[in-house]
Symmetry: C2
Subunit: 192 residues, 2 copies
DNA sequence: GTCTATAACAAGATAGAC
DNA sequence: GTCTATCTTGTTATAGAC
């Protein structure tokens, strides 16, 4: 019970304040326990962070796997749209997750920055490649313009990351409204 | 002399470690002075940060103003490309500036987060509007598809932010190579 | 402007009692 | 598992000498 609450609340603190900025005392306080009690669950702040990161990675990977399966039967262009919609919606619907992930990618904890980034890239590589494969397929089917598929896959992620970034900065602004325009522009750009 | 060095070195520390993560002792140490000497120049860590932020804002605004003037005589589509190239190049050529700006927008110092974000939006609004005006012009000239200009301006910034984000994460990767593909996809998407 | 010295405080971490 | 109490370190900040 406390263990679940701990991860949930710590996730929010890491997301809002970053690894270095999050205070174990504040986290414990919000749970209703004292700071030393956290050490009954994890040997260090970093181990707590690592456990949460692992959970989030599993969750993110499940999302991609399911999205790839559920969109399999769609026409190539619609499949690409569906994937973008699912992944962007995953983050748009959860500001905490979104902030946690952006911080994880861009400013990981200094002491483990190298290994964290490496593991994230390893995690993401299959999805970039599968995206490139889908684009390749679209080119063969004469739905998309001839182009380097991997570059377009990077452009896909570029757009996704830009959306997340602006959704965090312009919190009041409803980016769900802009998203369709942003996406349709991209799709028109690659379509034949 | 020390004053210039102070801002220069502090900028790098803020960029690499964030406001909360940067240590005045480390900054002083790198300059070759002692920590308390910083307080001869600024009354607090936040005032030092504010002075640097102000400098960077001036620098960024000059870039936009100059870019808008120097591109004025170009055809609308080429002008848009030039603007994207100038602004993305500004950050791509200086990782420190890039990291500082991303942190400033996404995770500003907590104590002043509200007012900083507000001033950044105020700073950026004219450029979004001028971009929308240029796109409007392109639509009138039948160079671009009919579309809501402001939404496309947002898409422009979305792409720019996404590029910056990925350039920070994938440091080894040469995104200068991908950038032309990313941009040309966007341009094809809005062109008639 | 810069220094030494020090105050005041918050953080992560640990020991030992219950 | 949880607590109180304590240790260590690192931070902002200030006072006062040069």
């Amino acid at each position: 019970m406390t263990a679940i609450k701990l991860k949930e609340i710590a996730l929010r603190h890491f997301a809002e304040n970053g690894y270095e900025g999050a205070s174990l005392a504040d986290i414990a306080n919000e749970i209703g326990i004292k700071k030393p009690s956290i050490y009954a669950h994890y040997a260090s702040k970093m181990e707590l962070f690592a456990a949460i990161t692992e959970d989030e990675k599993v969750c993110y990977c499940s999302l991609w796997e399911e999205a790839l399966i559920s969109s399999e039967s769609l026409p190539t262009d619609q499949r690409l749209s569906a994937l973008f919609s699912i992944v962007s919606g995953y983050f748009a619907g959860d500001r905490v997750k979104m902030a946690f992930w952006v911080r994880l990618w861009m400013f990981p904890p200094q002491e483990e920055a190298e290994s964290i980034l490496q593991s994230l890239k390893k995690m993401n590589a299959p999805y970039i490649n599968q995206l490139a494969a889908i684009i390749s397929q679209g080119i063969e089917q004469k739905i998309f313009r001839p182009c380097p598929p991997l570059e377009v896959a990077h452009a896909f992620f570029c757009l996704l990351d830009g959306y997340l970034m602006r959704a965090i900065c312009y919190q009041g602004f409803d980016y769900k409204q802009s998203l369709p325009h942003i996406w349709s522009t991209f799709l028109l750009g690659i379509k034949l």
